[in-house]
């Protein structure tokens, strides 16, 4: 997360850089150096954005330009830097992170921490209200709802994590390459991304799953493929902006190979905006899986919150907790992801949270 990273003070960094260069410029050292100096650059360009704002105000140049540049680099727009010098994450952020961590731990370690198999039946106590033995009660044939909710986190987290991994791995890389080298590849990537982003995503997911067959793998495949374009667009936009910065141009004019400049100087700066989108991207993917499961198009053998809501709804009058338990957990998870995403991208812009 960009906000939590600690930036070394710009004044000490050049000294440290000189020292290291004299000492031993081994490969690992240089990698470490690149990371550190990119953080320094981030700090420096943030200062530069502030200076630009000041200069703009005196020269009466359109302030949008400063805001746009800062925006493209995912720095807070210069005006917010001025009005809110300390970018605090706040308690809410850490509560949200805590909830997501809890869900992830539950998803990974459900069987380690002794949560019984979600398909296990308690034939002696079906249709129970929440009690000490069954925290969320049991359903009509004696499934423990708490166990099912915990194991349901697995499906959601697999979808969320894989969409982020595929989105960054393929989409982020494509956007990086297209935005840096431009040319024919860029034209193709932009066109494909535009096409995929202008089509209603859920319809495509539904159709793909219908024709590929309803298995968890196919659901993941469809959702992951359709999460690529959003990452590619963000990555390309950031790359375009970063590629014009001084350190990139000077690297190229000093004769560094473009590939080296791309991965050492451009990529670290592009990584931040992409990473800040990951939480929002994961929440979109999880909602898509929930919708598929609710519609009965996910495999019935996998426990999923969407399936649980659809099944629980059948007994709304007699046992509302059957639907409400997964509904509340789903709501909290999406809310936490959206909140973290918003805070991380540094702008309280609700438009970013829209599907």
């Amino acid at each position: 997360m960009p906000d939590s990273s600690v930036e070394p003070a710009p004044s000490t960094a050049p000294a440290r850089r000189r020292q290291r260069r004299r000492w031993d410029p081994s490969v690992t050292e240089r990698a470490e150096e690149a990371l550190r100096s990119s953080l320094v650059r981030a700090a420096e360009s943030r200062v530069a954005a502030e200076e630009m704002e000041a200069a703009d105000a005196s020269l009466n140049v359109a302030p949008e330009i400063a805001a746009l540049t800062a925006d493209a680099l995912n720095l807070p727009a210069a005006t917010t830097v001025v009005t809110a010098p300390a970018r605090k994450l706040g308690k809410g952020f850490w509560i949200a992170v805590g909830w997501i961590a809890l869900v992830i731990v539950a998803a990974i370690f459900a069987n380690v921490i002794g949560i019984p198999n979600p398909n296990k039946l308690w034939p002696s106590d079906p249709s129970q209200a929440p009690n000490i033995h069954h925290l969320f009660g049991t359903d009509i044939i004696g499934h423990d709802i708490f166990n099912q909710v915990v194991y349901g986190a697995r499906t959601s987290m697999i979808i969320g994590a894989s969409s982020v991994a595929v989105g960054i791995g393929i989409g982020g890389l494509l956007g990086l390459i297209a935005g840096f080298y431009r040319g024919a590849l860029d034209v193709v990537v932009v066109w494909v991304v535009d096409v995929l982003l202008t089509l209603p995503g859920l319809v495509l997911v539904l159709t793909l799953v219908a024709f590929l067959g309803e298995s968890l793998f196919n659901v993941i495949l469809a959702i992951d493929v359709l999460s690529i374009p959003a990452y590619a667009r963000i990555s390309r936009a950031a790359t375009l902006a970063v590629s014009q910065r001084d350190w990139v141009l000077s690297g190229l004019s000093l004769g560094a190979r473009p590939r080296r400049v791309l991965f050492r100087d451009v990529m670290p700066m592009v990584a931040l905006p992409i990473a800040s989108y990951a939480a929002i991207g994961a929440s979109i993917a999880i909602i898509a899986e929930g919708a598929l499961a609710y519609l009965g198009l996910a495999p019935a053998s996998d426990i999923s919150w969407g399936t649980m809501i659809a099944n629980g709804q059948q007994q709304f009058t007699s046992a509302p907790q059957l639907a409400f338990a997964p509904m509340i957990v789903f709501f909290l998870t999406i809310m936490a992801l959206n909140f973290v995403g918003q805070k991380a991208s540094g702008a309280l812009d609700l438009r970013a949270a829209q599907l």
Partner: protein
């Protein structure tokens, strides 16, 4: 102007062609022989096999098949479903009006609720009212349809009996025949439309609020106030129009979200629209129907985007210049 709309039009055609290629090749994703899969239980029937082979043109190479299929699709012939024994295009148009009605109602609800909320919170930013609206908006964005829908059913139907939990009351029908297209009475679609509207309502009101806050800070508002105009006169005469640009463009962009949302919402409330049609067709393995629906929704959506772009370009000259450059 003409150049701008012309470019957009060519783009639309290219995207629709891409979509048609994609949906055409969907059939080829099916495992095994498409004839067996499409016919299902009727695969043993030689006459049916010959009919499918002829309809899909399976004796031609694949690119020839694509153009034959495209030609038929352009004439409104999306084939015949072997599961329901009806024409795909006919069935789609029996289900389309209800979905459109639901989308229109949802759009009306979101605007009717979001505009007053946005104005009220934008006029007094950071007041307690603004904070509550902001908090609720963030909550609404975290409530996908399949969580909010059941919640509304529980509160408004199961507990209080204000609305029926599902289904619709027919207002009138379009066309005649075995199953004419249904238009439901608006009051029977209140809950589904609310579910569909919730998320975008939150976005609309926040966006209007944000633009209004920045407009009210500008100098021409100060000027108007110093002339002695009342708050409300300034709001409606001066501030609202320049603050509504983002909202107007969002309304156009929201149609895509509405289509996807409507598919889920119809299934929650058991409404016989496109959403229930596509889900039932998937469950019944009615592949030609799914293919037809996917093609129609995607193409319709791309067309709507084109119209929105063209209308904005007509309304706002800055847009057509900015987008041509960018």
């Amino acid at each position: 102007m003409v150049t701008y709309i012309g470019t957009r039009f060519l783009r639309m055609v290219s995207v629709i062609l891409a979509v048609s290629v994609f949906t055409f090749f969907l059939i080829n994703l099916l495992p095994g022989s498409p004839i067996n899969t499409i016919l299902g239980a009727a695969a043993g029937n030689a006459a049916a096999r010959a009919q499918v082979t002829a309809q899909l043109g399976l004796n031609h190479p694949i690119y020839v098949r694509y153009f034959i299929w495209l030609g038929h699709a352009l004439q409104g012939n999306l084939g015949r479903s072997y599961v329901s024994q009806t024409s795909v295009a006919g069935t789609i148009f029996e289900h389309l009006p209800l979905t459109l009605e639901l989308m229109v109602l949802a759009e009306i609800i979101s605007l009717v609720v979001a505009i007053p909320l946005g104005i009220a919170s934008g006029m007094r930013p950071d007041s307690w009212f603004d904070k509550i609206v902001g908090g609720v908006s963030i909550g609404l964005l975290a409530l996908p349809a399949f969580v909010l829908g059941p919640l509304l059913i529980f509160v408004l139907a199961v507990k209080t009996n204000i609305f029926p939990p599902s289904g619709e009351t027919t207002w009138f029908t379009i066309g005649s025949g075995y199953s004419p297209a249904i238009i439901a009475t608006p009051q029977s679609l209140v809950m589904p439309a609310l579910t569909l509207a919730a998320g975008q309502l939150a976005v609309f009101s926040r966006v209007l609020r944000g633009d209004l806050v920045s407009t009210l800070k500008s100098e021409f508002i100060l000027m108007a106030r110093s002339k002695g105009f009342s708050r409300w006169y300034i709001l409606f005469r001066h501030a609202l129009r320049p603050s509504s640009i983002s909202l107007v463009s969002l309304v156009g962009l929201s149609i895509g979200g509405l289509i996807a949302g409507a598919l889920v919402v119809e299934n929650i409330f058991a409404l016989p629209g496109m959403g229930t049609l596509i889900v039932n067709s998937i469950l019944k393995r009615d592949y030609l129907m799914v293919q037809g629906i996917a093609l129609l929704i995607s193409a319709g959506f791309v067309f709507v985007n084109f119209v929105t772009d063209a209308v904005y370009a007509l309304l706002d000259p800055r847009i057509r210049r900015a987008r041509l450059i960018g």
